[in-house]
């Protein structure tokens, strides 16, 4: 991810009221994770496994924070049970920024499989999402995804596709 995209995401999160972010890093998310760590307006919690981040964000919401989680799509697939039982069932919103590996041009076979499964699993969980790639799309997408998360009291997701991650 280019530094200017990382900065745009951090600023957009803050503008949308996000003040608490759990992350699990990956090469393409590195600049974003480092920018979140540096920002004093955001409580950043690096986690060891993505579903742990879902739990931490849910607890932070119950305590009045406005949480988001940053992870790759492999971590999202790992988090399905956590999202269902901790967020969707009681009605707890989390904004999810999911780096989307896989898709056209993918060379790694396991990433290709994860990529194919990501949107069907989002749909199966009835999580509203949008694909975001270009820098000018980021700010309105984050604002709207956060508005929907809070009004619907459910997780929402933005899939950061390769144009955003490169």
């Amino acid at each position: 991810m280019q530094p200017k995209i990382a900065i745009e995401i951090v600023n957009s999160l803050k503008e949308a009221g996000i003040d608490f972010v759990a992350t699990l890093t990956e090469a393409n998310l590195h600049n974003l994770v480092m920018a979140l760590e540096k920002d004093p307006a955001i409580h950043h919690v690096p986690v060891t496994r993505e579903e742990e981040g879902v739990g931490i964000c849910a607890g932070a919401y119950l305590g009045g924070k406005r949480p988001a989680i940053v992870m790759m799509n492999a971590g999202f697939l790992l988090s399905s049970n956590a999202l269902a039982t901790v967020c969707i069932q009681p009605g707890i919103p989390i904004l999810m920024l999911i780096g989307h590996s896989g898709g056209m041009g993918e060379e790694n076979p396991s990433h290709a499989t994860i990529g194919m499964l990501t949107e069907p699993v989002l749909q199966a969980l009835q999580i509203m999402y949008e694909r975001v790639g270009h820098v000018e799309e980021i700010r309105p997408a984050i604002q709207e995804a956060q508005t929907l998360a809070r009004s619907s009291r459910r997780p929402t997701a933005l899939l950061l596709v390769k144009e955003a991650l490169r």
Partner: protein, 205 residues
Amino acid sequence: MKRFDCLKAIAPHFQDELVVTNLGGVRHEWYAARPHPGNYHLQNLGLTSSVGLGLALALPHRNVVVFDGDGSLLLNLGSLATIANQHPRNFIYIVFDNSCYESSRGAPTATAGLTDLAAIARGAGFANAISTQNVEEFEAGFLQALKNSDLHFILAKVEPGAGKVPPAPLDSVENKYSFVRYIEKTEKIEILVSPPSRASEIQEK
């Protein structure tokens, strides 16, 4: 010792502490021992420690006490590393270790073998991690943790078996709303947003 006896011993010491319980029998016992709007009964195994951490970080001036089990913590051992590194001083993490999957008909967990969860907590970075064998030790450990105002891990080695209590009546959606409303009221913050009425737009025309 029995888990319910531990809970009954410490319940009188609670004031406005917030509590997170896991999906197992402990939630019914705790509801019986201390029914309170500051109890959050998580409908999940594994993430009790993580939800407690998020709550403790969000409200650093409120004590957060988590009641978990050995099977649940074993699902999420990495959370010990995250909690230790975040080091919330208002967080007391209690694990009732009965060495079995009690809610799943009792097959042994790893702690029935060689695994020591208090040692794992110390290795993860908890400076205060104790293992207790009887109710007096457990209650003393809890009171010390309250007094210290620091991150604590308390392992309670208990025998399997649930207290004779009625099921906690709270539906999880109801519990979420009542907990959030309680936090809003006691912290004077707004968590649940309501859309503004559009009626005023018509009057202004």
